[in-house]
Symmetry: D2
């Protein structure tokens, strides 16, 4: 059960309400975000909501059967819209493409990517400065300095930045230079990191775990929301299966289900999703057909020379053709 509180609820109203909820055998959690105040009430008994509806301080009450609560579409039927500023929005009818390299490599690469974006009307750039790597001996990205340099170029061009944050200690230093924090698949249940990102007023794109369930992804989003941050994007990036013909099993099904079960926007990552360059376009189009609000993909001037993962990276020409197709498809479906 979610109780939407009035913005001007006062302490005594709050205390009274919490007491009543406790008395009903429910455990209330108070949530205060950029956009609203809520009490998330967890319990097992069937209770009559009507009585609580008349309490002062209460704006509205919603029954939510899902295991996840605030991120559920059961209480918030309107779709969430993420506004990045400069007229760049995702969700609730707004579609965006995000492109860029696996790793930020240097100024020339950034400028070349920005030029490609400008030519194709793309407003959000992806790139890694902190890279999660299975092996401790692998390249881990150029770090905070490369982010600052990237931000300088991007902000001049009106381009927004999405990049991965890997640990709590990076949040503060990254904050001024990032427009969307990305949480990677391996950190999808790093609850500590999620808690802290819930205290920041910047959008967070949360990737599904390597073998995460749809419900686990939504519960991880609930961590962020319940800590105070409603600006969340859910990202399908492929799951692990027995099939070896591709790198991951992009789970297009999850896109359809996430769009139904949650009000949050859904981003598709076909690059990691299938992980094979020549099939990225098909999977990107399928993701849009299934309802994705955004597509994030690895693009590099010369994929063969890119740091790691060039196998799933499109060149500028492939990217341009695909962006055009996605836009046409998106127009048809609306």
């Amino acid at each position: 059960m979610i109780i939407k509180l009035k913005s001007d609820i006062n302490a005594s109203e709050h205390q009274h309400l919490a007491g009543k909820i406790n008395a009903l055998g429910y455990k209330p959690t108070y949530v205060n975000t950029q956009f609203g105040k809520y009490l998330v009430c967890i319990g097992k008994k069937e209770i009559d909501l009507r009585n609580l509806g008349f309490e002062s301080g209460v704006e509205d009450i919603f029954r939510v059967d899902d295991a996840f609560k605030l991120v559920s579409s059961q209480w918030k039927t309107a779709k969430t819209e993420i506004d990045l500023g400069g007229g760049i929005k995702i969700g609730n009818g707004h579609f965006q493409v995000m492109v860029g390299p696996c790793s930020i490599e240097g100024e020339a690469q950034i400028e070349s990517t920005i030029k490609h974006m400008a030519e194709n009307g793309v407003k959000i750039m992806r790139g890694g400065v902190f890279k999660p790597r299975s092996s401790p001996y692998s390249f881990r990205g150029y770090g905070i300095d490369s982010l600052k340099m990237w931000h300088e170029h991007a902000s001049k061009a009106g381009i927004k930045i999405i990049t991965e944050v890997m640990q709590v200690s990076q949040i503060d230093e990254m904050l001024p230079y990032v427009d969307i924090f990305q949480v990677g698949a391996r950190n999808s249940q790093n609850f500590n990191l999620l808690d802290e990102l819930g205290k920041v007023d910047k959008p967070v794109m949360l990737k599904r775990g390597i073998s995460g369930t749809i419900e686990e992804l939504l519960q991880s989003a609930e961590y962020i929301f319940s800590n105070g941050n409603e600006k969340i994007l859910l990202c399908e990036r492929g799951i692990r299966s027995y099939e070896t013909a591709y790198r991951n099993t992009m789970d297009i099904n999850a896109i359809a289900i996430l769009k139904d079960k949650s009000h949050l926007p859904v981003v598709a990552d076909p690059s990691h999703g299938i992980g094979v360059r020549k099939y990225v376009d098909k999977i990107a189009l399928a993701s849009v057909a299934a309802g994705a609000d955004a597509v994030i993909m690895e693009v590099h001037e010369c994929p063969e020379k890119a740091f790691s993962d060039g196998q799933q990276t499109l060149d500028h020409q492939e990217s341009a053709i695909l962006i055009d197709k996605m836009k046409n498809l998106r127009a048809l479906l609306q």
Copy 2:
């Protein structure tokens, strides 16, 4: 290596050629289909194809690296087109929708389905008369008599029939009444059944195994082709994964890959693929976006009253809307 033989190759040319191939350390398998004669040559050594190219009886020679051979796109770059007669074709640019119930239940149901098909320009009807069931105590379909009755109605309406064959002993009795034999997921590696369907001159739609790999599906198709039947459709119907939010993980990735690796048409089965009625439309559209040549889906006048599996069955209105969307999408993509 595949050697395409001349249609008028004679016995002595054949013998000479086989001898030469054996001498090169390769094992030749002679394949004689509706459309051509081939020698599939399996071996490990690198050999110089040019010498064999000049042998009499040889039309052309192709190197095929894939584990599967005749179904590979490496030798046959033109897409295979399945012609069902009456101008109804699948593959090579021709797109078809197949609709119908899980099980054939009776004349009223058939007529109602045919009426729905006529209104929406659908030419191929699906339905089960032999049903594979996990439990021996479950309903196993109304059998051959219901197929005959169905055929009577369908042929009058110019409708083609696709239905599942479960065992070798059913092939002959079904043959006159079936336009496409369907092989179910559980029989995807029933090599005996595949061998026998390779001896029939009717199209066969082969479903991917419940946890079958893409390569296994193509190898199973190779069984049919190498026994003499080139009329094969490959069907993606979802794989088994850890996720429980849906019934199967429809593997849209496989559609893109099958279209690339093979010349055979690819059919998508979103009904079994995701197995949840309200998401079938999104998955159908995603399948078309990924390149499917046909979509097969469960449709019933009243899904709630359908034999088993009503949970993934569309009603006529949902079906009509989806068919329209798929056709528009298909038009856009071409």
Copy 3:
């Protein structure tokens, strides 16, 4: 619900009983095996069993909640014992090892294996004469003649034979030469084959499907039992997962669960289960520790020279050491 019928139940008693069950809203299936007569009654209502218990012709009545019925331990608490003759038994406290090559190759190989078996007290020999192969161009076994020859050698030595049957048409010709029919993983839901093996009075070892669930395995066993054959062995042979460090994920968990849920004996196949020679011993021992009634393993005088799959095959020395360890472990656990 399972009704155990008296062996001398007569037609009118039977008819009366079936009528009463139908009247209760249950669907009865009459099962007549080597060992008993049963009515398996499928329905959804809660009914009072006591009334039926007093009907003439009824020996006993059992409620069975499981989806599978006759193979469930809910009605038959005593463990099933498979008696192969010559004092060779499996299940209900009797433990057996089965060894032999992937494929029967010739007399020398058979004799060498029998010698190894004699030296180690092993009484059941495995080997393939019909081999299921992903590719139609692979070696498919030496067929029925090699089985006859093998049987000649084995019967002289008091050795029992287990070998795979792949299709219905092979059952009759194999029958005189086989002591246990093996159904392979790919045929685990070939219901036609299961139906026919239910009509034979020879033990059947049923392998779990490549990604079969434990319940599906038991349901497949139910096909055999309900057709009249109670002599069934369940075999765990590894499932398909994302892990690539081994060939299959031997699911030791399934052994413990099958032993609990069913009265049928459980056989472990560590050779295919993990599929890596140097780990077969550990997995065999773990299987015995988890309660397996038998272990079947690939053994060859010279694994390097064996037809296909030598990678998971033990040589005679490795086999001897492992057999000894398994026997000691088995003794300890009892």
Copy 4:
């Protein structure tokens, strides 16, 4: 390639060596642990190790083909022994059982557990004070104060403590009270946490990810080792599969493989591994048979009253019987 350095290597020797390695096209990483100094050298060229062997400061050189290096058995053939003090050791022939509740609940529970341990010769107690939970609204453990209280009781009784650390900020406060830090499955690739645990001189038990590969587990262990901590235990706790008859698929295969590929001790967690109380004993025994150096299991005086997860928790009687069986099995196998 791993170069074991002499303990008294000086700066100029070090610099000279690193230069030489760089010149050979390899990237050296200097590792300084409690027990030794190493250079891990990553590169692709085939090089002649002999030249480097004569450099001053070099003790020995090892070629390591595995993707993981310091945790590989390719260079360190002797098994690692974890010494917890008080004569309590794990690995290299030493076997330990670890028991205790899911969550530390209070003094009575701790005392009851310690009494059970004393009666059965168990020296290591498990229990959670920080609990990772899918939902932010679930109980997250009693925190650091309960750890301090637990430590007081345990140290008096000569009992060692293993408990989960979930985030970097907890390491320091937990350090004085913990004998083994546990890293949970969800943090298996939380590289930040692994880096920091590599800087501590306390044993770390690292759980395999929920769908982690064996190689990923070993690479995560490499993070800890390469940061300076050689005291690592690897833990198999079940993987995610399609099967729903149990909670996880305990991967006994992984135990055999980890024991072979690494010199680190391997711990089996049958409680989470299969997740069903009545099968925990079979899976524990199978784990020991496969070579586990330790078994960790959930035990509670009254599982029905335990915080969360009581479904996989043994009571004291079940635990006592199982401990006895494991010890006998262990004795037999050695």
